[in-house]
């Protein structure tokens, strides 16, 4: 009985299947809002599903000289980590007692795995443009991870030094969200911008800059493998805003969460559509000097309980 529930939670709800379906829907929201900003009509609601189906049924080409196993298994890394993340987020939001020591750190690592999958897959594909994209992805990873970790430290301080994810959610349910304070707002801005970079959206789409290096690490991917990358990205787009809501905005165990989720998604899409792409050195400076210093100021505020 337990094993059935275990498998159900990882494969169907809220694990793989649920977050994949909702994630593809969120990418439709993204495309539709983008289209409305451009004053266009935009794609119909089933567009992401049609794209995904088409990619699944197309030919998958492994380029000559590429490492076949790595090339085909790297896309799965993102999907697996996102499925596990979905289960952790949902179970701990609806039942904060199901937590264990250090699960916040596990979640931070799970959030880093999709980037690792892109790096491994891109390097395995034996394409010069892919390796340019991979080197940018690595640099960008180091850029956004530092302020992201400092923002996590703010959250930990505000929850009274707990590194249990469930306790962080429970503390907010008891005493109100952390977002409604100076350090909370700073942490929110920092996490939102790192989310933007984790999703590689403009202005941080440097690793896959279509106009200069075609699709960067994805350039050699086709068919099923490309579909897996698209799916992992869609799941991230669903789960990262939920993560932000659960660490700062009081968790998502009530109906208000849908509104909060839509606000964050639309904010991300707006940032995406109103900014030009940065160069990689500008992104590094932005994250380490600009946002990094901001997050340290936030840390100091959090220390004094503001």
């Amino acid at each position: 009985m337990n094993i059935v529930r275990f498998l159900f939670s990882y494969i169907i709800f809220p694990g793989f299947l649920f977050s994949a379906v909702i994630g593809l829907f969120v990418t439709w929201i993204d495309r539709k809002v983008t289209a409305r900003i451009h004053w266009r009509v935009g794609p119909p609601w089933f567009q992401p599903y049609a794209d995904f189906l088409k990619l699944l049924l197309k030919e998958t080409i492994v380029p000559e000289g590429a490492s076949k196993i790595l090339f085909l298994s790297a896309p799965l890394l993102g999907i697996i980590s996102m499925s596990v993340l979905a289960v952790m987020l949902f179970s701990m939001n609806f039942d904060p007692t199901r937590t264990f020591v250090g699960d916040l750190i596990v979640i931070i690592y799970l959030l880093a795995l999709p980037a690792l999958g892109i790096i491994v897959g891109g390097s395995a594909s034996k394409n010069p443009l892919a390796s340019v994209g991979v080197s940018r992805e690595m640099t960008q990873y180091f850029a956004y991870e530092l302020p992201f970790l400092i923002a996590m430290a703010i959250v930990v301080i505000k929850s009274g030094g707990s590194i249990k994810f469930g306790e962080i959610v429970a503390a907010q349910q008891a005493h109100g969200p952390f977002l409604y304070s100076i350090s909370g707002i700073i942490a929110g801005v920092v996490i939102l911008l790192s989310t933007q970079a984790k999703l590689s959206f403009v202005p941080f789409d440097i690793p896959e800059a279509e106009q200069e290096i075609m699709a960067g690490p994805y350039i050699e991917y086709s068919g099923v493998a490309l579909a897996m990358y698209k799916l992992a990205r869609a799941m991230m787009f669903f789960l990262l805003p939920l993560f932000l809501i659960s660490v700062l905005w009081g968790g998502f165990a009530d109906w208000w969460a849908i509104l909060k989720f839509l606000v964050i998604v639309v904010l991300i899409v707006l940032i995406k559509n109103t900014n030009p792409r940065l160069r990689i050195d500008q992104a590094l400076k932005f994250f380490w000097l600009g946002i990094g210093i901001l997050s340290i100021i936030g840390l100091i505020f959090a220390f004094y309980g503001l």
């Binding site: 495309r31 935009g42 119909p44 567009q47 049924l57 350039i219 050699e220 086709s222 490309l226």
Partner: protein, 138 residues
């Protein structure tokens, strides 16, 4: 299975723009149909940067000795099934360039072309109509 494949392909044709020595005017018209005014994303058409992601190749220009190997290579790199759409009069026939030493003849001799869109350059509406006809033929 076949139906699902056809539906997916019809609803989301991603195009790769393969410029084989055109005068660039056709290319500008192709970019036009991606602008908000014509908004082909309504039909799921997206311009992609890599032939590996493409379902349709938009070829423009008179094919010549220099561009022929590249065109063949890109065609081989595209995962099948894929459509080939010839845009512009140049892609239909070499016309006045026919006697040139450098011209190797129409696309049909080398790769299967699904639809030709005449015009110099064709209007954006004509290009959309051509793509629709190509999709209907599937």
């Amino acid at each position: 299975m076949g139906n699902a494949k056809l539906w997916g392909l019809k609803k989301s044709p991603w195009v790769f723009h393969l410029a084989a020595a055109p005068c660039n005017n056709c290319d500008i018209e192709i970019l036009d149909i991606l602008t908000p005014r014509w908004d082909v994303e309504r039909f799921g058409i997206v311009l992609v940067g890599s032939p590996r992601h493409a379902d349709a190749l938009l070829v423009t220009g008179v094919i010549n000795r220099k561009s022929l190997p590249r065109v063949l290579r890109v065609y081989e790199q595209t995962p099948k099934p894929c459509l080939v759409i010839g845009v512009g009069s140049c892609a239909c026939h070499p016309h006045i360039f026919e006697p040139s030493y450098n011209v190797v003849g129409p696309y049909d001799k080398y790769i299967p072309v699904d639809v030709y869109i005449p015009g110099c350059p064709p209007k954006p509406e004509a290009i959309i109509l051509g793509v629709v006809k190509a999709l209907k033929r599937l």
